[in-house]
Amino acid sequence: MLKSTQAGHAPDFAAVLYERSGAAAYDMSAEQFATVLDEILRKYFSQDATPPSAEKEAEFYASIRLEELALARACAAGNERAWHDFISRYRQKLQSMALHITRDSAHAAELADSLFADLYGVNTREGVRRSKLEFYTGRGSLEGWLRTVMAQEFINRYRKQKRTVSLEEQMAEGVQFATAVSEPVRTADQRLETAIDDALVELSPEDRFTLASYYLDGQTLAVIARILGLHESSVSRRLDRLATSLRKRILAGLRTRGMSHAQAAEALETDVRDLGLNLRSRLTQDSGMKTFPERKAPAKDAGEGKP
């Protein structure tokens, strides 16, 4: 049961949550719903050494999408009315999402159908149908969760196809003209790498994410802005600021390591190909493992997608 009912909160707090969720419409009892909420609470606060305070707990419950959580859990439990509501609300959206992600109608239909089957739960374990909706915890919108799960599925499929590409396709991509990768000779000054690493580590996670998204992934300013909840121009200004400050920090780091200003500037302009980096090992980040493996035997508290 909800701890809040015992820990000095308004006695009807659990009842209010249950009423707001509309779980009763899907034949879900207050006790069942409270159990679901308790599971979710344990999942997100299991890292903490101490159990959450009553206020923190209430705040957490208040942030959950109760109605969508009730719908998802009722669907997972096989409630017909819940499935009717789910299909009427999200079936069409799933198709649109798939089309948006794959940009191809044939693949979109395949992806949407596959996800829909997972949501319904075609895989059985010990005779029990397991629906993917069991892993929805209401932290974000159900629609957003569906998009995320679909994107994960798409990336898994993309990786799978990429690994099984035929020799003809490889030839068509020009693999025969690829330069043989040789072990680079270490010629660069180690101080440069250390200075860059130090400068990067000093950045905030958001700044590093911005840099990685823009320079490594090639994302547009608009996409980064939407992810971070900023305006596009703010991201542009931030990138300019980061590039400038990063350069200054690296130069300062090199000078503290005994280089003159001219030497530091020259070292910074060195082409990465001249440096002694094991590019082969570092660029092959894509391991053979699936990034988001399908959960064959989900733990009780574990969330969706964790390896």
């Binding site: 707001r20 929805y136 974000g140 998009r147 990685a212």
Partner: protein, 427 residues
């Protein structure tokens, strides 16, 4: 865009893997966390944890980017703001043109800056008396509004005098927004004829705007004419237009020096001030002074985020909360506007809010509705639905009449709840 040295690319890819991170950051966040991250619903600690992982993991970055809602790309701005955008676009175009030109020629930036400093300096030198008048005017306002009111929450907004009259574009923006709101209010009042009528917003904007009465100091106030469009017209010396809309908003005009305008909202209600682009002062009557309040800075360069300012002071609370919506996010100030914090940033942009005592409601695009019963400390998202139909259109007006909540949408729907949002009826 400034480029970074090539070697930094490689180190950027490599550095995170060298760091020792806890297991929960190395493990992929589940779909729930990624969704909440994309929708900006995580706490700061959780968000930083997810960002740390995203910096490491290209796969998760791809997932987040792919899972962005495509609808937002083409989503039109809210109806209420669309007119303001259209009107302000005209006014902004000249400025933008100038900005683009100056940014194209870096050498000109300094010339423009120097010219600007020269103009400001010359204004200060030529019109020192004007500035003194303004300062004395604000001081007199402070002294007259300082006495505490008995039990009523008060928020007064005053516009500091500006030597320049409001531009025609700004007037047009205010007029168009007023038209849109009046149309919505008309529908609201028409549809609610059968219900318990307190005071409709239309009445509030037309009839209840009182341009007479006595000021706090007992001095008779100068009457201000109310225009046919419902806007408060200032005397000829003060060429500004102030617009207020509220359920039972009483807007009083107090005498002021030369061209200042002061208006006060005496009743807890929805109050939205949309003045011409001047600085807005907010002062609480329960507090012993008035402070200049800088409205939260808008990241959208003010194009789509005309400052909507309101005061929702609780008579029982020591610190009155001031609310504002900027760039689609609800912001709150607990120190009379000295500092602002992001109180609510929903997935869809927020468009309106209403507060009553500790209850705060915020509505936005796509039926987004949040309720806080503790002045924004915690929020509960509410999905109004009636007979299987969900509210999915943009919420443009929220009215709070005790336990009764009324929502007006951009497609002229009225949603009503008589039990503080538990059940809803669509009219």
């Amino acid at each position: 865009m400034t480029e970074i040295p090539k070697i930094v690319y490689d180190r950027l890819r490599e550095v995170p893997s060298k760091r020792v991170l806890p297991d929960f950051q190395l493990a992929h966040p589940d779909a729930d966390l990624l969704t909440a991250f994309s929708e900006h619903l995580l706490s700061a600690v959780e968000r930083n944890g997810v960002l740390e992982h995203l910096t490491l993991c290209r796969d998760c970055r791809d997932v987040v980017a792919l899972a962005l809602p495509f609808r937002d790309i083409v989503a039109p701005p809210a109806a209420a703001e669309r007119d303001a955008i259209r009107a302000t676009a005209v006014a902004k175009s000249d400025k933008n043109r100038l900005t683009s030109r100056t940014s194209a020629w870096p050498s000109l930036r300094w010339a423009v800056l120097a010219a600007g400093i020269a103009v400001v300096a010359s204004l200060l030198l030529l019109r020192p008396g004007k500035l003194n008048t303004i300062q004395s005017s604000s001081k007199s306002q402070t002294s007259t509004t300082a006495p505490a009111a008995s039990g009523t929450e008060t928020a007064s907004a005053s516009l500091p005098a500006s030597p320049m009259p409001a531009s025609a574009a700004d007037r047009a923006a205010v007029g168009k927004t007023e038209k849109t709101r009046r149309r919505s209010d008309l529908l609201l009042s028409k549809k609610l004829d059968s219900g318990p009528v307190v005071t409709s917003p239309l009445q509030a904007s037309q009839g209840v705007i009182i341009a007479q009465g006595t000021s706090d100091s007992g001095q008779p106030e100068k009457s201000l004419p109310v225009s046919s469009a419902g806007s408060l017209e200032t005397p000829p010396t003060a060429t500004k237009t102030v617009e207020f809309t509220g359920v039972t908003a009483v807007v009083e005009a107090a005498p002021f020096a030369e061209d200042g305008v002061m208006a006060r909202n005496d009743v807890p209600a929805i109050a939205r001030a949309k003045p011409a682009p001047q600085e807005v002062e907010v002062q609480g009557r329960q507090e012993s002074g008035s402070g200049s309040v800088a409205t939260p800075k808008s990241e959208a360069k003010g194009v789509v985020s005309a400052p909507k300012l309101a005061a929702a002071a609780s008579p029982n609370s020591a610190n009155a909360a001031i609310w504002a919506i900027t760039a689609g996010a609800l912001q709150r100030s607990l120190d009379n506007g000295q500092s602002w914090q992001n109180a609510l940033h929903a997935f869809h942009p927020l468009l309106c809010f209403a507060s009553h005592d500790n209850d705060v409601w915020a509505g936005g695009q796509a039926g987004t509705l949040f309720h806080s019963f503790n002045r924004g400390a915690t929020w509960i998202q509410i999905q109004p639905s009636s007979k299987g139909e969900q509210l999915t259109s943009d919420i443009t007006v929220i009215e709070v009449r005790g336990p009764e909540i009324l929502l007006s949408t951009n497609n002229s729907e009225i949603w009503r709840s008589a039990d503080s949002g538990t059940t809803w009826d669509k009219k």
